[in-house]
Amino acid sequence: MILVTVKLMGHLIKIAGTNSLYLEMEDGSVIRDLLEQIFSIYGAEMRNQVMDHSGESLAAYYKILVNGRNFKLLNAFSTPLENGQVIHIMPPVAGG
C-alpha cells in the first residue's frame, strides 16, 4: 500500500470540510486513481470543480502538483503515486 497526503486549497477546502487528506492507495496507482478516490468520497461537487465537462482534463486553470511539481511536467494523470508523496490540488491562484 502507498500512503499519500492530499492538500486541498481555496474553495475546495469548503467542499471537503478539510484541507488535508491522508489516503491509502494500492501499489501501482497513478494520479487518475487518486482523483477517482477523492471524487468517490466528496461526490459530484468536487468532480465538477476539478474536472472540465469532458471529465478527461482538469477544469480551466486548475493544477495538480506532485511534491511541488506541476503534474503536466511529469506524466500528468498517469504519474505514478509513491509512498509519502504530497499532492496539491490547486484552484487558480492570484496575487503579488
Partner: protein
Amino acid sequence: MQGGYTGKYLDIDLQNGTVKVLPLDKEMTVKYVGGGGFNAKILWDQLPAEVDPLAPENILIISTGPMTGTLAPTGNSWYVGFKSPATGIYGEGRGGGYWGPELKFAGYDYLILRGRSPKPVYLYIENDKVELLPADDLWGLDFFKTVDQLEEKHKGARVLGIGPAGENLVRFACIMSDRYRAGGRGGAGAVMGSKQLKAIAVCGTSDVRVADKEGFIEALRDANKTLMAHPATATLLPDFGTASLVNGMSAFGAFPTRNFRSGVFEGAEKISGETMAETILVKTRGCYSCNIKCTRYTMVKEGNYAGVESEGPEYETVNAFGSRCGVDNLEAIAMANMNANRYGLDTISTGTLISFAMELYEEGILSKEECNGLELTFGNHEAMNQLLEDIAMRKGLGDILAEGVKRAAARIGRQADKYAMHVKGLELTATEPRAAQDSGLGHSVASRGGDHLRPWSPAYTLFNFGSEELGLGGTPDPIVPDDKANVVVQMQRVSTFTDMNGTCKFIVLCNTISPSQLARLHTTITGIPFTSEDVMQSAARVWNLQRALNNLKFGVTSSDDTLPQRLLNEPAPEGPAKGKVVELDKMKREYYQLEGWDDNGVPRRERLMELGLDFVAAELGK
C-alpha cells in the same frame, strides 16, 4: 489638451516656498504616457547625477497616469519617482486608493517637489489654491493620526504623507496615502522627510475628460468582461485577497522562509488567505474605480493582539513578517502590518531586515545585547514587533537596520553580508528564485533593484496564466533557466505600462487584460491612437530610459545585475527545487540580447535610437 490629462503640473520649491503652475508638454504624453514614464524623463532631464538622495537637491515627483481618476478599471494610481536613498539609483513606487484621482480632480497631472523646507510643512491643494502650511503640530505623529487631523481640518480632502519612519530618514520608509496604501519602495518616505514635507492634502472638483466617450464605454465593457471572467480577478483576489498565494507559493517551494534559507514554510496554512478569511477578515474593500476589491479589512478580536485593525496584510507582508521571520501567527503579522503602516515603513524591506537580524542572532554574529536585549530567534513574534518599532524610531540595533540591509551588513561586518538579501540595495521580495528561475532574472535586472512586480512572471511560470498576445502558453518548467528571458521581457513590458497609465498591476498581473485591451482603453481616453505594439514600445522606451539613468547617471553595470550569494551558490535544501541554485548567467545573457543591451548591460545606440531616445544615445561613451 487630449483627454485623460489635466494639462497642468505643479513645480514646488520647498526652500523658498514658491509654487509654479506649468503646462504639460504634449510630447511627454505621447512618448512617456505618464506615471513612471514622466518620472524617468523628469529625472533624466533635471536630476544632478551625483546628488545625495537625502540632500535638498534630490527631486521627488508624484505623478499620475491618464487613466487615474477615470472609470477605467483600477484607474487610481499615483507614482513616485526619486533617487533612492536605499540604492543610490532610480527609485519609484506606486500607490492606489483615492489620492491619485483627487489630484487629477484638483487639476494636476503631477507634482515636482524640490529643495528642503526650513520648517516642517504640509501642502494643501484645493483646485487652484495651493499652499504650504506649517506642520509643526503634525511632525512626530504617526500616519493615521496625521490623516485624522488633516481630514478634520480640510473636509473632503485626501491625504498622502509620511509617518515617523520618513521623518527619521529610515532608508526604506515609504509614502502612504488614504491611511493604508503605500508606495515608494527604496525610501520615497525618507526623501519626503528630508524635505521636511509631512503630507499633501488634496481636494478637487473637476472631472477627468475622456476623448471618445462612446469608444471608451465599449472598451470598458470589454475589459470588465475579461476581468469578470478570469479566475484571478473574478474569484481569487476578491475572495481571498493577495494572500490567496501563500499556500500555492509554499507548495511550489517558492515562499521565502527564514531569510531565504528555504522556500517551504511548514506554517503556511496558518497564515494563508484561506485562514485569514476564516479568522480576522471583517470585510473587503477596493480602491477608486475597482471592482476587484482585493483589499482585506481585518481586525483581531481576542488574544494578545486584540484590537489590531488595518487593511491587509497583503501577500508580500504575510511573507515578510510571517515565514521570513519564521512566524506562523497571523495576529502577530497583522500587528506588524498595522504598525508598519502607522510608522510609514515598507513592509517588505522591514521584514527582510528583521529576518536578517534573526539569522545573525541565530548564527551567533549578533549578541543579545547588540539586539536591544531581544531574544531574536526565528519565530519570536513579540521580538519582531518590538524591533519594528525600534527601526522606525532608530533605537539601538534599529538605527543600524534603518540604513537598509546592504548598509547594515557592511556596518555590522563579521561576514553579515552573506545573509543580506537584496539586489542593488533593495531588499528582495516574496518569491524564492531557486524555485522560479525567471523571478531570479527579474529581480536582478529590475530598474529599482530587488523587485517583484516588474514583472511578476511566476503568474505564468508557476501558475500558468498564459497570454495569447504575448505568445506565452503551455506549462513552462519553473526550475530550469531555459526560455525565461523572453518571459521576463514580455511580461515586463505590460507590467511597466501599468506603471505609466494609472491603473493597478492586478489587472495585468495574471495576463488578464491584454496589450490590445490596454491600447483601446488608452486610445479612447486620451485620443492618442495607440496599438498593442505602441503599448509594448512605449513601455520598452520607458524601461530603457530607466536603465540608462541607472547606467549613465548612477553607474550601474552588468556586475550589479546579480543576486545574493545564497541564491547563486547554496542549493535549495528542500521542496521541488531541492538541489537547485539560480542559473543567472545564462538567463542574463539571453535577456541582454533580447533587450538590445551590450555585455556591460548598457542599451546599445541602435536600440536607443529605435526607441526614440536619441538624447540618451548622445550621452553614450561620454
